[in-house]
């Protein structure tokens, strides 16, 4: 009884989340007022600890994915790289967001994350860790993922995850969401405007 009520509640929250996503889909959305990212404790691909402090000091784009994703994840990373390249023409390098790949499938991601990023994009940061800590960051960003795993022995399971990228400012605040397709020119244009405006506010204090 209680369990079914909780299930219903979960479905309700999920549909709210989906509805919100649907509204945001394809056009970038600013988060106003900007929201400080909550505490979490993960590790980067070199084993260094990565928490909310590590968002401070530079712009970041957080992308939710997993390494056993040979099709859509490499495409999204390539698209985001194209956005960064576009921004590079018109913006000083220290304002261009770093890409942070939040790997949500630690059982398979932990051992390969370093190689995966070294292979595709050595300058990117990859973070993963304990499920509970991953969930804290996911929740704080308002994102969603699900391991489609029927048992612990299953090896070929898929991971359903949000394709929306969170933009985090140098004060570790969530300021915007961008959605696929990440058209280099349009997305780059939006981010340049957003970042320049935000930097003006930050500089004013």
């Amino acid at each position: 009884m209680i369990r079914s009520a909780i299930a219903k509640l979960q479905i309700f929250f999920l549909s709210v989340a989906f509805f919100t996503c649907a509204a945001a889909f394809e056009s970038p959305q600013s988060i106003d007022p900007a929201r400080l990212v909550g505490e979490f404790q993960l590790e980067d691909q070199y084993g260094g600890s990565f928490g909310v402090e590590q968002f401070k000091g530079q712009w970041s784009m957080v992308f939710v994915g997993f390494t056993s994703c040979p099709d859509v994840c490499p495409v999204t990373l390539a698209n985001l790289e194209a956005v960064r390249a576009e921004m590079g023409f018109r913006m000083s390098p220290e304002r261009i967001p770093n890409i942070v790949f939040l790997a949500v499938d630690p059982d398979r991601d932990r051992s390969v994350l370093k190689d995966y990023l070294a292979y595709f994009h050595p300058q990117y940061v990859g973070i993963t860790g304990r499920e509970a800590e991953i969930n804290k960051l996911i929740k704080s960003l308002g994102e969603f993922y699900r391991l489609d795993r029927k048992s612990v022995d299953e090896k070929n399971y898929n991971v359903t995850h949000t394709a929306i990228v969170s933009i985090i400012n140098p004060e570790a605040k969530l300021v915007a969401k961008i959605s696929p397709p990440f058209h280099p020119h349009k997305t780059g244009e939006y981010l340049i405007k957003l970042i320049n405006e935000q930097m003006r506010l930050i500089d004013k204090g």
Partner: protein, 172 residues
């Protein structure tokens, strides 16, 4: 379509990869119903046990042909998948039967329809080629070699910007 029938030899020479057929089950003319072009797989990092494959399949016969299953000596499981982004959520679904209609040219490319190679059998992946087998509903089996392409996957967005002759709507 009729044109393709008569000039299949010519067509075949123009194609990147020509497919082997199973003689006993081949069609009347000895003609294979499906022609595979541009079969490739982006090279994955050494210890990632999943990979994707892409190709273009052309049905040069007069009847629909279905790819019913796939296999590879190098992977435990192979299937056709479709990547979907719906309401901002990315997922992959298995495509059980892939039907290619007469005259249809179906392109599998990154971010959409793909061949999913799951759970690699050997410790290390081949850096050159990857053999797969496609089983068809007409009883034929097609051997395809995916060329392993090193380097990162290109952004389809960039491709779209720089190459206006290419259209991205295939298979959607």
């Amino acid at each position: 379509m009729r044109f393709y029938f008569g000039s299949s030899a010519l067509l075949a020479t123009a194609l990147w990869i020509v497919v082997a057929s199973v003689p006993s089950l081949a069609m009347d003319s000895g003609q294979q119903a499906l022609v595979i072009e541009d079969a490739w797989s982006p090279q994955m990092p050494p210890n990632v046990s999943m990979a994707a494959g892409y190709l273009t399949v052309v049905n040069i016969s007069a009847v629909p042909v279905t790819i019913t299953s796939l296999s590879s000596p190098a992977y435990h499981a192979v299937a056709i998948h479709r990547s979907l982004i719906e309401n901002g959520v990315a997922s992959m679904v298995k495509v059980k039967d892939l039907v290619i209609n007469p005259g249809q040219r179906l392109k599998l490319s990154p971010g959409g329809l793909h061949i999913m190679l799951m759970n690699r059998k050997s410790k290390s992946a081949s850096t050159e080629s990857l053999p797969i087998e496609l089983k068809l509903d007409d009883g034929n089996v097609i051997d395809v070699t995916l060329n392993v392409i090193p380097g990162r996957v290109q952004s389809p967005q960039t491709e779209q910007v720089t190459d206006h002759s290419k259209h991205m709507h295939h298979g959607s």
